[in-house]
Symmetry: C2
Subunit: 241 residues, 2 copies
DNA sequence: CGTAGAATTGATTATTATCAATCATCGTGG
DNA sequence: CCACGATGATTGATAATAATCAATTCTACG
């Protein structure tokens, strides 16, 4: 397929905001052209679901903008958020027939979707892409395992402190090397209180009480529901232990 | 390097118990020979540690026999087991400078170790191996995420029931397709009560009480500390929900 | 057999969940 | 622009679950 054909949609990849960070970063111009021809951009509204747990794994995607949750639920209907996907993160499960978790946008998001069959084929033919995907998957596994320590061994206070610090870090624009300088930093939480509870394995009430306490103790300021300012990094860090 | 040279150690891979399941399964004879030349077999005693959290990531390995734990600990010294590695599983972190968790044998184990630098180079030159490693890493990520649901949203009873069922499945010889047929099945736990607690994010006392209760209820029989027989699969399964 | 480490059991406490009520916040329409 | 309603968040009271502290009791091994 000739990707130079001017009747085709333009090559979105070239102007892609995550061009240098996503798994496609190492591909050359021709390869990107080919990848561009099998993918398409798509906007997802907050609350809209992209993948369903247990469904046929039809799609995979790259996150360009926004934040999405990966989640699963117990038979009793309690939800656990398994991970959050930020720009440049990869979504979906290559090389497998069914999704083992659901994916839903937390805020309006922009993604680059592929049919899994197309993506799988492209990946197998392009080891550079598979290598990037492997590196990303290994990192995600590391991050997930760190989160297990939080879920299994931390109390509510430690969990929320860890969550706020990680969120601040992940929300920092990729360009800047994000070194918390001790100064205050304002973050717009991409999650509701209930969603934070679902990340931390707590109830909404417990999360709320911990927020209140941290505010009272001067570690954070809360201007609006989702508008939090970290005032004391060291103290917050101390509460993760 | 000529791997046919009879003065070199024999090619262990050919007789390897996990030859068809580990990440090296797709390699042809020559490639296996090359891989064989950079790896070596090693025995690890129960309780012996192979990798240390935070250390330089020098080694990676394949598990041939035995069970090992991946673990991390909180600043307060509480341990959380992040995963268990069974035969054919891969250990260590390719493409990264430091280990993000420790690895220790739970029972006497046999592994096939590589210097990470050698392995990384070999992997980058052999896309077939990288592909297998990617598939395995994706599966491990799925498994880890399922475990997050357990840690975040299950109570002690559900956790132990889930653990027993997964252990029975993982301990079943790879050859047989392991379909719990409703009949009883005896398993030798590779973990102490404390280690089970560290897997499930509980204390040893809570684990012990749950064992006692399950025995009293006739779901399992306990012949020795590590000798458990699953008597009622359906009832055990029901308790995971 | 005796002993040390592991496991169990019991009593109590701490933490978090649950249930219930009130209070903010934000979007909407008058 | 403000009042209103709906949803989300907070707060309080109580209950449930698991942690902690403290003895025993196994059991594996020399």
């Amino acid at each position: 397929m000739d990707t130079q054909d001017s009747s085709r949609p333009v090559n979105f990849c070239q102007a892609c905001a995550v061009r240098n960070r996503a798994i496609c970063a190492d591909l050359d111009k021709d390869e990107i052209g080919l990848l561009n021809s099998i993918g398409r951009r798509r906007r997802i509204e907050a609350g809209e679901q992209l993948l369903w747990e247990g469904d046929d794994a039809v799609l995979v995607a790259n996150v360009i903008e926004g934040v999405l949750k990966l989640f699963s639920e117990t038979a009793g209907g309690k939800e656990q958020i398994l991970g959050l996907a930020y720009p440049s993160d990869f979504l979906g499960r290559p090389f497998k027939e069914t999704n083992s978790y659901g994916v839903e946008a937390l805020v309006p998001a922009e993604i680059c979707v592929f049919y899994r069959a197309d993506f799988d084929r492209f990946a197998r033919e392009h080891p550079k892409l598979e290598h990037r995907l492997l590196e990303r998957t290994l990192s995600e596994l590391d991050r997930t395992r760190r989160w297990m320590l939080l879920l299994g061994r931390m109390n509510a206070e430690q969990k929320l402190a860890s969550f706020l610090l990680e969120t601040a870090e992940r929300l920092a624009p990729a360009s800047c090397g994000f070194v918390p300088d001790g100064g205050s930093r304002r973050i717009e939480l991409p999650l509701s209180r209930q969603q934070i509870a679902d990340v931390l394995g707590l109830t909404i009430e417990t999360v709320s009480r911990q927020f209140t306490r941290m505010k009272k103790d001067g570690l954070i300021d809360i201007a609006g529901r989702r508008d939090v300012t970290i005032l004391d990094w060291d103290a917050l860090n101390a509460r993760t232990q």
